[in-house]
Subunit: 335 residues, 2 copies
Amino acid sequence: MSNIRDVADAAGVSPATVSRVLNGKATSLVSEATRERVLDAAQSLGYHPSAAARALVAGRTDTIALATTNIHDPHYARALDVAQAIAEEFGYHLLLMPDADDTRLQSLLRERRADVIVRLRYPVDTADEVAAAVVSEEQVVIAVGPIDRQMPLSTPCACWDDREGIRAAVEHLAGLGHRRVAFLAGRPAQRKERYALEAAGADMTIVPVCIEPGSLDDVGRGAALARLALQREPGVTALLAQNDTFALGALHALREDGIAVPGQVSVVGYNDTFLAPYSCPPLTTVRTPLAECVSRSLRQVMEALSTQHGAVQPQSLQLHTELVVRASTACPPTT
Amino acid sequence: MSNIRDVADAAGVSPATVSRVLNGKATSLVSEATRERVLDAAQSLGYHPSAAARALVAGRTDTIALATTNIHDPHYARALDVAQAIAEEFGYHLLLMPDADDTRLQSLLRERRADVIVRLRYPVDTADEVAAAVVSEEQVVIAVGPIDRQMPLSTPCACWDDREGIRAAVEHLAGLGHRRVAFLAGRPAQRKERYALEAAGADMTIVPVCIEPGSLDDVGRGAALARLALQREPGVTALLAQNDTFALGALHALREDGIAVPGQVSVVGYNDTFLAPYSCPPLTTVRTPLAECVSRSLRQVMEALSTQHGAVQPQSLQLHTELVVRASTACPPTT
DNA sequence: TATGCTCATGAAAACGTTTACCGGAAAGCG
DNA sequence: CGCTTTCCGGTAAACGTTTTCATGAGCATA
């Protein structure tokens, strides 16, 4: 394993010069002749600087951490793709940290394992507690997620309002004539469930349905929830799913049970994942701007980090959600 | 930001003692009284040891790197889940390295950014070139992917034989009476395509169909490939897809064009992702043991790394593929 | 009391970089 | 020729750990 010292010896210069050549910010500091000699030596020795040593002295790890639950959900996988692309663009590495509670994120920061943490889909207003662990001016926590109420954050933040999306879905269903709708929730006391209830007008009832976490995968849970809803709540003519994956399961269950979608029951998803247009029938769903949020906020921070020398001032960004109407919703049957 | 020295001062001991307490392998080396004092001091100072400094001196980063293309494919997302779970179990971090060519993997190793690299889905027999960069006895490259021919590797390896799966699919279709089948390939000269051709018996023709990489997502490409196949290759009664995502697109296209599956055309997927049972109709597909391969080989290496002090001897593992028959295949129409 | 052993702890040397500081040579200018 | 300026590159001090070696205390044994 070769050192910077080995390279220096091979090129007949000092380690400092090698470092200067390899980091080469100001090209003027070293002559063209030595630069070439150093590069040759490094090349022929197969030299790569130790990330640890560099991080230790420079205080940067060139690493972005992505903190999220549910990497298996296509919606988050998309965000991961986006983050990866940006990391690559700026020469950073991507560290994955799923199911990360605040304590683990804080130690991640303190151990200096990452310069930037993108915290996905937790309610953004709890991000400040994590950000409190920020150690240097060059460490940032970015909060990306649904927002409850506008409030000033000390960290960069990109968010959207789930109420907006839910309201659009509910109004769409109400406009079609649905009067009784079931909300297929991941677990009890979901925020979205509250939104759905609050969005329901006087002429519409929303009944939440949920199921204890078990051995089922997400699609399976969606199927189970759909069956439960139709069996337990007579008169329900539409299902509003917690996410597209649940909706996919619901579609499958209804198809198996011989219930026509959207003829007898309408189904609305959430997130507009890449599966939604290809389901059977194509899924009406609410597009949430998760990927866009990650993309914009992360890029902004990375740019600030790479040019300006010092702290990143927290910028907030709020994007809109939007209902995408496809073929899984229609008027309720006229009985 | 607090040091190990700060903690030492606060506890009235030397840094060495703090290190001993915090790494605490042999509990007998430090007295109970000082141990508690140190832990208290560390706690109240919010101390976390610097990952960089630790990595520099100890030569380990406690990091597993996952090298793969296509994180957005549900099949790889599953592998990622598995790897993450194991990393967590052993107290390691997970670094993501998509689209990594050999050069980048080698510098990853040389920079010592990871102790273990899991290299997904490249032909396993090219892994040795990457492993050649292995620097210390405690660095490992694990090769996980389809295998062409059995050959001794210098690195741990978990693989399966795509020919096995392809053959099962082809025989299934042949048994149903299909005589002309299209293979929907990702790009020209795919290995699987070769396998498909070689698996076809005398009484069956396989025509490859492919399409230049473009702006389409994978599902969209599957749809386009299906349409292309049926238009360009008359007499085709079954489609064999490169992967489940393509198959999903194919199902969608056929449904849109009013072609009955499996009545008029049969469709076979590949990989058996979580979507396969829920497609419309449920997808007949070949189950490949990617996740299982990752799980087993990675766990074995991690255990070797954590107990035995020294090199990991390369163990090879080959698992079977298996055809999962669902509802997207049937006899060809009798014209 | 001298000897030897165990046990807890401290001192100091790595690990491989980056960077602030300094010195010397070359060059421009009077 | 002497002075200042510029440019190039070397020296050495960090960065925060882990780990080897040494030291000294306590204690048992002879």
